[in-house]
Amino acid sequence: MIRVRGLSKEFGTLDNGNGGVLALSDIDFEVHDNEFVTIIGPSGCGKTTLLRIIAGLIPYDHGEVTIDGRPVTGPGPERAVVFQNFALMPWADVLSNITFGLEIRGASKDECQAKAIELIKLVGLQGFERRLPKELSGGMQQRVGLARALAVNPQILLMDEPFGALDEQTRRLLQEQLLRLWEHKRKTVVFITHSMDEAVMLGDRVMLMTPRPGRVKEMIDVPLERPRSREVEKSSAFLEIKEYLWDNLRAMQSGDA
């Protein structure tokens, strides 16, 4: 379980304590085991910063961030990140990219090989094992990124607008694929997005953030039944939640939240 209490983060403070920008202020929330939480908010609200703090990539100034009771001090084996611009090593083929995390953590060549084959099948990239990233479409590259994250068998998947760089059609396909994978083997997921459709479609709960300095405005339950199908997009519950999100976001963007 991820637990965040009173978290705040400032950027760019000088040595004398002045001049900083408060990115996050007093963030309070929890993510339960195997829950899929999506985070949405206006641009600049600090969602990516929050994710990187949970991932252990950047330090935080005040508050408490714990995973199953242990405080976060850096990256750890129970978490894996999926990046918006894929972050694939351009010089390595698909197979090597997928096994990267495993290799770092010391797995043997055979383990890596086996895992990689399993995951390639899982994300549907058979036949592309030896290809270089530049030979793949955006959607395929992100599937490699996803496979790489899943390869290390994390309890928590941290996804930073993973489909943001893709066109709409590819995005929808990948959303469906992600849901299928998640249904098959549930993990805790924290998923950042700009898209209200995506937030409601994927999440068990949606966390709405305020503009900078980012705070948790509200945690909204998404009581739609699982497994989610495209049909759900037409249901009144879906549209209600989406409207609610948009009303709030619009108000926040124009400054009168």
Binding site: L57, A80, V81, A87, W91, F100, I104, L132
Partner: protein, 271 residues
């Protein structure tokens, strides 16, 4: 120009005239360039015979001198000495260039401490150090090698440091997210990612090294190809001097091709 505009321009150039298809394909692949070179050689030949200037021998005479060199082994004798200095000088500048560049790229302290000096030494004409090296090392191989190092090193320092500094930060972050330690990040991410730019620097450095070799020889040493050029110049034998210039040109092109092959092999993944 994008790839599409280049091909578009090519097809427009060809369209106005009904070239037969075979000729069109030939023209597309560098025929015009070859024709231009051949044309130049012909003009040179004509002017050489026609004008009868001491400094402009006909192209054929130059070729003759070149072949004579090869046949009589003159080239080989002096080439050996030149190439030795080139190899030693280039290797030294490669090692120094890559190490200093890597340190500058990796550690901001080193970068800030050295950047103005590296930049200054890069832009100022390297030959200007020749009198200094002559004073320090005298008439020896060390002078020639030192000049080659000064010529070649700084472009490699700059390219290497830029290469490491401009590695996609999200790749570094990704590696860190999987628990990579600093050393792993350096060898698994920074090094491979910086390879294309580093190779560009090595290619440039190679060209500079050849220039340093010949420039240094013309000034300092009395051995090697540069010395030959001076000697033939003093004898007013223009054909032989041109021939030597061609030899140096060929050396430069070969070295460049060598680096290019290595580059292609190792950085096939870059676009």
């Amino acid at each position: 120009m994008t790839q599409e505009t280049v091909t578009a321009a090519k097809s427009i150039a060809m369209r106005g005239i009904a070239w037969p298809r075979g000729l069109r394909r030939f023209a597309g692949n560098g025929a015009l360039e070859i024709l231009a070179l051949a044309g130049g050689a012909l003009v040179w030949e004509a002017l050489g015979w026609g004008l009868r200037l001491q400094w402009l021998p006909p192209f054929s005479k130059v070729m003759e001198a070149l072949l004579q060199f090869v046949y009589r082994g003159v080239i080989l004798a002096n080439l050996g000495s030149s190439l030795q200095a080139l190899v030693l000088g280039f290797s030294l500048s490669l090692v120094l260039g890559l190490i200093v560049g890597a340190l500058m790229g990796r550690y901001r302290v080193v970068e800030k401490a050295l950047d103005i000096y590296v930049h200054a030494l890069f832009v100022c004409p390297s030959i200007v150090f020749a009198p200094i090296f002559f004073a320090v090392f005298g008439l020896s191989d060390a002078s020639r090698i030192a000049i080659i190092v000064v010529y070649a090193m700084f472009v490699m320092v700059i390219n290497t440091s830029t290469a490491i500094r401009t590695v996609d930060p999200s790749l570094v972050e990704m590696a860190r997210s999987f628990g990579c330690r600093e050393r792993q990040i350096f060898f698994r991410i920074l090094l491979p990612a910086s390879l294309p730019l580093v190779f560009a620097g090595i290619r440039l450095g190679m060209g500079r090294a050849v220039k340093g070799m010949i420039n240094g020889e013309m000034l300092i040493a009395f051995v090697g190809l540069g010395a030959l050029a001076q000697r033939y110049g003093a004898q007013f034998d223009a054909a032989k001097v041109f021939a030597i210039a061609m030899v140096v040109l060929i050396i430069g092109l070969l070295c460049n091709a060598l680096v290019q092959i290595l580059d292609n092999r190792l950085t096939r993944w870059a676009d």
